[in-house]
Every structure is written in C-alpha cells, then in structure tokens.
C-alpha cells in the first residue's frame, strides 16, 4: 500500500508538473529529479516484492498434485465456476435469482489479483527500459522507448483509477464490508462474515475438518485502531490524488 501510494504520488507529480497542483505535490518530493529518484527506488522495492511473492506462490503449490493445487478451490486461477457465479450474481442484482455461494475467492477478487499480477511486471519492464535507455536501445530499437513511456503511463492510470474507484468501494466501502475489510491487516476474517460471504468455503473447511485448524485469534484493539487510521488515511490520500488528477487532466500539455 505504501509503495503503491508513493508511486502514484511521485508519478502523478511528474505527469502533472506543468499544472499548479503538480508543482505543489512535486515540491513535497523535492522537485522533478528527486521525485524520479524516489519513484525508481520504490519501484525497485515493488519489483523485489513481486519476485518474493512469486517464489511464495511456488511454495504454496502442492507439487504432488499440481493440477489439483493450481486449479482447485483455494486457487486464484479463474475457472468456469467463476463464470457461473458471475451470471448468478447479475441475476441477483435485479432480484431474479438467489445469491451465488462463493468459495474462497470471488470472481472480482480474482480479477483484482490478476490485474496487479500482470500490471506490475508491465510497469516494471517499461520502467526499467526507461531507467536504462541506452542499454535498452542495444537490444531494441530506440522507438520502443516511445512505446514503453506510453505503456507505463497508460497502465499506471488504469491501475490508479481501478484501485481508487472500484477496489476501494467493492473491497471496503460497500454496505456489507463497511467500514473496512480488515483481512489485509488482521490476516483473518471473522467467521460470521465468512459464513455470509463465502459459505461454500466455510462448508468445505468444515467437511474436511480443517475449520479449527485455520481459525485464528481476533486482532487486538490497539492494532485495529492503528490500521483503521492508516487505512482511512490511505483512502483519503488516494481519493485526493484521483480527484485532482481528473480535475487537472485537461491542463497537462503533453501528447
């Protein structure tokens, strides 16, 4: 979260440098060049995080039954059940059917996950290309840097608008998640919420007798206070960046 917000702020501060607002946030990060330096190093941290996460994913696969592990219930890989649940949910929106019984991950959570998983390497590759333009032009024609700059900007805008509009709402602000989905910080989900949202998951845990195994202690109060403050600060900051970004978009004099 910290790296994402920092990248948004430093990136936007450079994209909007020709506007009054851009100059203001840019000065917070020490100017046009320093903000780029921060952007690069935070990017490196994100890339390291991506590699660590991928290694972690590989250790999560049960290599004795890889097919079952990758395409099974607990996996984030999309499958036909998601398509069916999506259809059911559309009917449910209009009161035409019952709510789908979600298992561990809903289809929009899977979309969220894979959006980041392809977006991050794309931003990393195009970012590294622009960090080392001379080396890049040894292996690719120089005009690939035009493409890299465009892709980096477009994917960043896509990620930022998606996170600050869609993800914030469906993750935290919609009525059944409000005021916050605490799973990210507490590492666990209240059983009551899990039964409501993901009955199929809880059921399969009960059937295999693993429910007690996976149950965890509720987060302590002081920690909850800390992450509520942090989470809402992040939300306010993100919405601030998005609204100003939209307001000043017309003033960016760049092709």
């Amino acid at each position: 979260m910290i790296t994402f917000l920092l990248q948004t702020a430093t990136g936007f501060s450079r994209l909007y440098i020709t506007t009054a607002w851009g100059k203001k946030i840019n000065s917070v990060f020490g100017g046009y060049d320093t903000s780029l330096l921060i952007h690069k190093w935070v990017g490196v941290v994100m890339m390291v995080g991506f590699v660590i996460h991928t290694v972690y994913l590989l250790t999560r696969i049960n290599w004795r039954t890889p097919m079952k592990s990758i395409f099974g219930e607990d996996s984030l890989v999309p499958n036909l059940a998601d398509l069916k649940q999506f259809g059911q949910r559309i009917l449910w929106f209009f009161g035409l059917g019952s709510h789908p019984r979600f298992s561990r991950w809903t289809y929009w959570e899977k979309f969220d996950y894979w959006a980041v998983y392809w977006g991050l390497p794309l931003l990393a590759i195009t970012g590294v290309m622009m960090m080392y333009p001379l080396v890049t032009s040894r292996f690719l024609p120089g005009w690939s840097l035009n493409i890299a700059a465009l892709l980096h900007r477009a994917e960043a805008i896509l990620a930022v608008t998606y996170i600050f509009i869609v993800h914030f709402f469906i993750g935290h602000l919609r009525p059944s998640s409000f005021p916050m989905n605490e799973a990210m910080f507490s590492g666990s989900v209240p059983l009551k919420e899990a039964i409501e949202e993901k009955p199929a998951w809880v059921e399969s845990l009960q059937n295999t007798g693993r429910l007690n195994e996976v149950s965890a202690a509720a987060p302590v109060l002081w920690y909850r206070v800390v992450y509520f403050v942090f989470g809402y600060a992040a939300l306010i900051f993100g919405v601030y960046l998005l609204i100003n970004g939209i307001m000043y978009a017309r003033q960016v004099s760049l092709h």
Binding site: F93, L134, N146, E155, L158, P190, S215, A218, L254, H255
Partner: protein, 233 residues
C-alpha cells in the same frame, strides 16, 4: 551408454553459459561514430561489399529531382520544378524561399512539434537540437540531423554514449491516438487504443458492477449468526 547423460549435462551447461555470455557482449553499434544505416552499422565491420546505399553518395548542390509515383500535376508527374509545394527533405536550407521567413517563429508553422517531452519537460528550444540558420533538411547529406550521425552530433550532447538505435527514438511523437500516428507510428497508435479500450472497458464494467452491488446489498437483511461466531476469526 552411461556416458550419454554426462555429455548431455555438459552440453546444457555450455548452452547456459553461452546464453549468459551473449548478455555480456559489447554493444552491436559503437556510439559516437557515423553509421551508414540508421538501423545497423554499415555491415558491422565496414567491409566493402561493393555497393553503396543512396545517402553515402554526396549529393550535388541542386534541388533534388523528386517524383511521387501516382501524383501528377496536370499532364506531368510531380516534380520539384512543377510542384507548388516542394519536397524539402534533402535541402541544405530547408526553409529556402519561404516568404517572410525571418519574421516567423518555429512554432508558428510547426505547432505540433512543440508538444513532446523534450520541449515541454526538458525545456529545450528548437535551436538547441536543430541549430542556427540555415537549418538543413533532415536527409541533407551534411546535416548534423542526418540519421547517419544524429546520435553522435545531436543526441549525445545530453545522452552521453547514444547509439544510432537510441537515436531512432521518436522525439516529435504524434498524438498517440491520432490519425497521423496511425500513418507514421502505427505501433504507438495500436498500443494507445488497446490501453484506452482496456481502461474504458474495465471501468465501464466494474463501476456499474460496484454500484449494483452496493444498491443490492442495501436491500439485503443480514442473517443473524450464532453468538459464538461473533468474535471468532
């Protein structure tokens, strides 16, 4: 028979080493040298092949005879002497013959050329790259902007070590979604529209989806769970 796997293993190791070695090779085009082609250095080691590319021959000091296939002016094919608009891509003074030239600014005629990162963000002026008067055409043989030496004479002023490939970066890139870009830089155009459709499509799907989720959940009464479930995680 027992040796076969060992040989195979050595082969695999050697292949891996060779693949790693390729990454450490020096650049295919040395920087700061004139090259005979914007794409690749002249036959890499400049061994004579007995033929020369067009721009390696010194031009004569005259207006080049340019014909555009299929374009006619009256009964005659398009030519510099017949055309009202001259093809200025190979002149020693590209602005030769323009009326009131000295009273004009660059952007008066080239507004689209002042919208790129180098101008807007790098704060470069036109003359810092294109030089003083007379400004030669890009394809003019002696021009510093000629692609055979642009990387060394122009780009390398700031980008130390720039190569011919590096110099193929499009400075005055067209607006990526424009019709002009479709003609002059189709890859940029396609990437732009792909990303735009992706952005608009994602938002057009997920904003109504989120909205409907929110509305529908307002009309759903939460089930009362068992009391002991309240604090269990």
């Amino acid at each position: 028979m027992a040796r076969a796997p060992a040989v195979l293993r050595i082969l695999v190791i050697l292949t891996a080493l060779a693949a790693g070695g390729i990454l450490l090779l020096p650049p295919s085009a040395s920087a700061q040298e004139e090259v005979a082609s914007a794409i690749r250095r002249y036959k890499d080691r400049e061994t004579s092949t007995g033929y020369y590319e067009e721009h390696e021959v010194r031009p004569r000091r005259q207006r080049p005879f340019v014909e555009i296939p299929g374009v006619q002016v009256g009964l005659f094919p398009y030519s510099p002497s017949a055309a009202q608009v001259r093809n200025r891509s190979r002149l020693a003074d590209s602005h030769m013959g323009i009326a009131f030239y000295t009273d004009k600014t660059c952007v008066a005629c080239h507004p689209e050329q002042a919208k790129d990162i180098h101008t807007v963000r790098g704060n470069l002026t036109c003359r810092q790259c294109h030089g003083g008067e007379p400004i030669a055409s890009i394809q003019y043989f002696h021009s510093p902007m000629n692609p055979i030496r642009k990387h060394a004479y122009v780009c390398a002023k700031c980008h130390e070590g720039s190569s011919a490939s590096f110099a193929s970066y499009i400075i005055h890139e067209p607006a990526p979604g424009s019709v002009a870009a479709r003609k002059s830089f189709p890859t940029l155009y396609l990437v732009y529209w792909f990303m735009t459709v992706l952005l608009v499509g994602t938002l057009a799907f997920f904003i109504p989806h989120s909205f409907l989720t929110g509305v529908r959940e307002l009309f759903t009464r939460k089930k009362e769970a068992k009391n002991d479930a309240d604090t269990t995680h």
